[in-house]
Amino acid sequence: MPQHILPVSTYLLIFAALLALLLATVGAQYIELGPYNILLALTIAIFKAVLVVLYFMHVRFSSRLTWIFASAAFLWLGILLTFVMADYLMR
């Protein structure tokens, strides 16, 4: 497997982005959006997670197999949450 070495600056950039998103999460709490607050918070969290997974965990530069397993995990989590919540929302 070929080695892919990222420059340190990339890591620092991603880190800065993560901190900015953290501030955004906290800041978003002070905006009254009703039920959308949680959606916003989760969207930001997903962004953060994607950054960590793609760069810190090198998935962006990994084999397709790694992509598949990394996304399968979240897909399956999605199945669990969607179907369970669907039952509650449709009752």
């Binding site: 497997m1 080695q3 070495i5 990222l6 340190v8 890591y11 620092l12 991603i14 880190f15 993560l18 901190l19 953290l22 999460t25 906290v26 709490q29 002070y30 905006i31 009254e32 959006l33 607050n37 949680i38 918070a41 989760l42 930001i44 969290a45 953060k48 997670a49 960590v52 997974v53 760069y55 810190f56 965990m57 990994s62 084999s63 197999l65 790694t66 397993f69 990394a70 399968a72 995990a73 979240f74 399956w76 989590l77 669990l80 949450l81 369970v84 919540m85 509650y88 929302l89």
Partner: protein, 216 residues
């Protein structure tokens, strides 16, 4: 020298490395599903008891939570840099960043521990020690207790993972000290790094879900 590091069942170093990294990814997938069960329970009850959950979450110290998130993100950065150091074969930087990762990880646990002890002191630990009385007729203490049970369970399981992670980092530290890693062989650093980042990712979701319910 490379040969002794390849276990007998593998043909070469590359195969061994691929296996280790794939193995860790699959393990992380199982971890996602393990936390997934807890997230499902959380989703259902938050949906059922919105008021109680919002109220309960206000008992937490969101500032500390945010600070802890920053700590963990920084430790993740350090871990990434440690892997980078291993890739480039700089043993001193590797050890430095491993140490920083561990220090930040421990700091996280200390802060979390402080929060926990404070919450337990306030009588928020579910079970016999739960003394919370609902201030509003609109929801019951049981529902708040439900939140705290999820809170303690999720942060507890997460903290448990952190402790395991710290042990693994310690192991890496020893190995690095013994000069086991070279730019050709550092799979353990990489694989344990994956684990550490994953623990970080879990917290990225736990923080808004647990600390930030309902707007301020």
């Amino acid at each position: 020298m490379a040969d002794t590091l390849v276990a007998h069942q593998f043909d070469d170093m590359d195969q061994q490395r691929d296996a280790a990294s794939l193995g860790m990814w699959i393990f992380l997938a199982t971890e996602v599903m393990f936390f997934g069960g807890l997230f499902a329970a959380y989703a259902v009850y938050r949906w059922s008891y919105p008021a109680a959950f919002a109220e309960a979450s206000h008992q937490l110290n969101a500032l500390l939570g945010a600070a802890n998130t920053a700590v963990l993100l920084t430790s993740s950065l350090c871990m990434a840099l440690a892997v980078h150091a291993a890739q480039t074969g700089s043993r001193r930087r590797l050890m430095l960043f491993l140490a920083l990762t561990m220090i930040l990880g421990s700091l996280f646990l200390v802060i979390k521990g402080y929060e926990w002890s404070h919450e337990i002191h306030l009588g928020l630990l579910p079970g016999a020690t739960f003394t919370y009385v609902s201030p509003s007729p609109a929801f019951s203490a049981t529902q708040v207790e439900m939140y705290f049970m999820l809170y303690f369970l999720m942060t507890g399981v997460h903290g448990f993972h952190m402790i395991i992670g710290l042990c693994l980092l310690m192991y890496l530290m020893v190995q690095a000290f013994r000069k086991r890693f070279t730019p050709d062989y550092f799979a353990p650093v990489e694989v344990i790094g994956l684990y550490w980042h994953f623990v970080d990712v879990v917290w990225i979701f736990l923080f808004p879900l647990l600390y930030l319910i309902g707007s301020k």
